[in-house]
């Protein structure tokens, strides 16, 4: 491994994780201000302009709280769970491509941390591991509410993983590859010369099923049964305080970012430029007379910007949904998963295979 490969790899890792963790305070701020706005309250507005510094004050508070562990808890697993909760979605983020490529000198830098041969399966693998922190946290805290939350969480995640996987399968039929870069490249085509060939236009039902499943997978309302505060106080993270709770909190946002990024990559063109941006890039290039390499770098920057905007849109919708819809009952959640989404996703796979067969 030469020094350039190592340096660009480290730079990409630092960049992705810095962006991912760096937007969390602003998401928290948006969640609190947005919820206040939706509910006709004021929300945090004292710390900094528009209360923007509030999340940082929260973090400081978390750090200085007592580092408390329940007496009857299984210490090792109790401390392991929040770490695992944050690691699993972050590991999945490493295969999301966040741009086509950069030209540095005569070297090509592929804008994806890990170019795994079976990229989508890798994400599914780590999405599957996201159930463990919930189970382990609930079990290790030795609290009945926590156990109930853990049981709810694990059954919910298992149920929705099936429809999520089937929705993914229907898109794999269309793209014919596991490689996320090739999927995004495929979506760079145009239908009838002007409609972008995004997955959502080919397979809207799959996109809808996948989107609903991401809500359930990340335990967001209306699927936040594992922490349903009116019934089981806080579910699996009831016994966690200070920074350990904050880790779960961050993990939820990282999982949201990961799920939205995956949704965008599969169904909404990934880093493909939004309509109209290509014209802007061309204009800048011709105005400044940029070389090919510089033009490609500029395009990559805009591609990252477009991916960021698309992911941000879905994050905003997730927050919006949370403060708009009431929570389901648990039997409703399981019924929706097994009796509606699962057969629908299965039928959609059959339908998409017919479509793909007729098109090819």
């Amino acid at each position: 491994m030469d020094i350039f490969t190592l340096a660009q790899l480290l730079a990409k890792i630092v960049f992705v994780f810095a962006v991912c963790l760096g937007v969390i305070p602003f998401l928290v701020w948006f969640e609190r201000r947005g919820s206040a706005w939706i509910q006709g309250r004021v929300g945090p507005n004292r710390v900094g302009p528009f209360g923007l510094i509030q999340p940082f004050a929260d973090v400081a508070k978390f750090f200085f709280k007592e580092f408390w562990t329940p007496a009857e808890a299984n210490k090792w697993y109790y401390h392991l769970a929040p770490i695992f909760a944050l690691v699993a979605p972050m590991a999945a983020l490493t295969v999301i491509p966040f741009g086509s490529y950069l030209m540095i000198g005569d070297q090509i830098v592929n804008l994806q941390i890990a170019n795994v041969n079976s990229g989508v399966l890798f994400i599914l693998a780590f999405a599957g591991l996201e159930v463990y922190p919930i189970i382990v946290a609930g079990w290790a805290s030795n609290n009945k509410y926590s156990i109930l939350g853990a049981l709810r969480g694990s059954s919910q995640i298992i149920s929705y993983e099936i429809s999520m996987g089937l929705a993914l399968l229907s898109m794999l039929l269309v793209y014919g590859t596991f490689d996320l870069h090739s999927m995004v490249a495929w979506q760079g085509q145009k239908f009838f010369g002007f409609v972008p060939a995004w997955g959502v236009f080919i397979n809207p039902i799959g996109a809808l099923i996948f989107w609903i499943s991401t809500f359930a997978e990340t335990n967001r309302l209306p699927f936040d049964l594992p922490e349903g505060d009116s019934e089981i106080v806080a579910g699996y993270h009831l016994e966690y305080g200070a920074m350990k709770f904050a880790l779960f909190f961050m993990a939820e946002y990282v999982a949201m970012i990961m799920a939205s990024a995956l949704l965008v990559t599969l169904f909404f063109g990934g880093y493909q430029l939004l309509p109209g941006v290509q014209a802007a890039v061309d204009a800048i290039v011709s105005m400044n007379g940029l070389s090919d390499a510089a033009a490609q770098n500029l395009k990559a920057v805009f591609q990252f910007g477009c991916l960021f905007l698309k992911v941000a849109f879905f994050m905003v919708v997730m927050i919006w949904v949370r403060w708009t819809f009431p929570r389901f009952r648990f039997d409703q959640v399981i019924n929706l998963g097994w009796k509606m989404l699962f057969p629908l996703a299965l039928a959609n796979v059959v339908f998409m295979s017919v479509v793909v067969y007729l098109m090819s």
Partner: protein, 180 residues
């Protein structure tokens, strides 16, 4: 540090972690700890597969074993709340003594064989038809596997899925005590 050295050291580290998890699996008191130990073994083995370049096997290991089967294990352990009956175990029963002697003998023989042959080069006679270059040319592990699964081994693939479906229906029938 060149690439092979790096891979070897990572494999060693993962192997040590996997061994530690295996010991947890063997000696932990709570059933859930055992299950999590097994999960650790699976995850670190997947890590070893990934670092030697077999991404497909690594991801399948994570998806199928760690993501699905172990979740069901742990789910049922938690649901049925298995109590550890360590006290009632009879350490002096003749059956246990007999099996432990046999196991120890097998273990010693295995260890002797491994220590005897561990630096001999890879056996050439047992290899399959695919070399690493061929697999890369044909479009990666997943492509090659899918192709052979859905052409050459199609009938056995369908037979196995049918058998699994029958097992699934059977499990539902058995679990549902009264059929109306």
């Amino acid at each position: 540090m060149d690439n092979l050295d790096f891979i070897n050291s990572v494999v060693t580290v993962f192997g040590i972690f996997a061994a530690i998890c295996g010991l947890v699996l063997l000696f932990a008191k709570e059933p859930l700890s055992c299950a999590l130990g097994l999960l650790g073994v699976l995850i670190f083995t997947a890590g070893i597969y990934a670092i030697i370049g077999e991404h497909f096997i690594a991801t399948i290991q994570l998806v199928v074993y760690a993501g699905a089967i172990m979740v069901l294990f742990i789910f049922s352990i938690m649901l049925f709340n298995v109590k550890h009956d360590r006290e009632s175990f009879n350490w002096k029963s003749p059956l246990f003594l007999f099996t432990s002697v046999v196991t120890a003998a097998v273990f010693v023989l295995l260890g002797r064989t491994i220590l005897q042959y561990f630096d001999t080069p890879v056996i050439e006679s047992q290899k399959g038809i695919f070399t690493r270059e061929m697999v890369t040319d044909l479009g990666g592990n997943s492509q090659v596997l899918a192709h052979s699964l859905f052409t050459q081994h199609f009938v056995s693939f369908e037979a196995i899925s049918l058998a699994l479906l029958i097992a699934l229906v059977g499990a539902v029938v058995l679990a549902k005590r009264k059929l109306n």
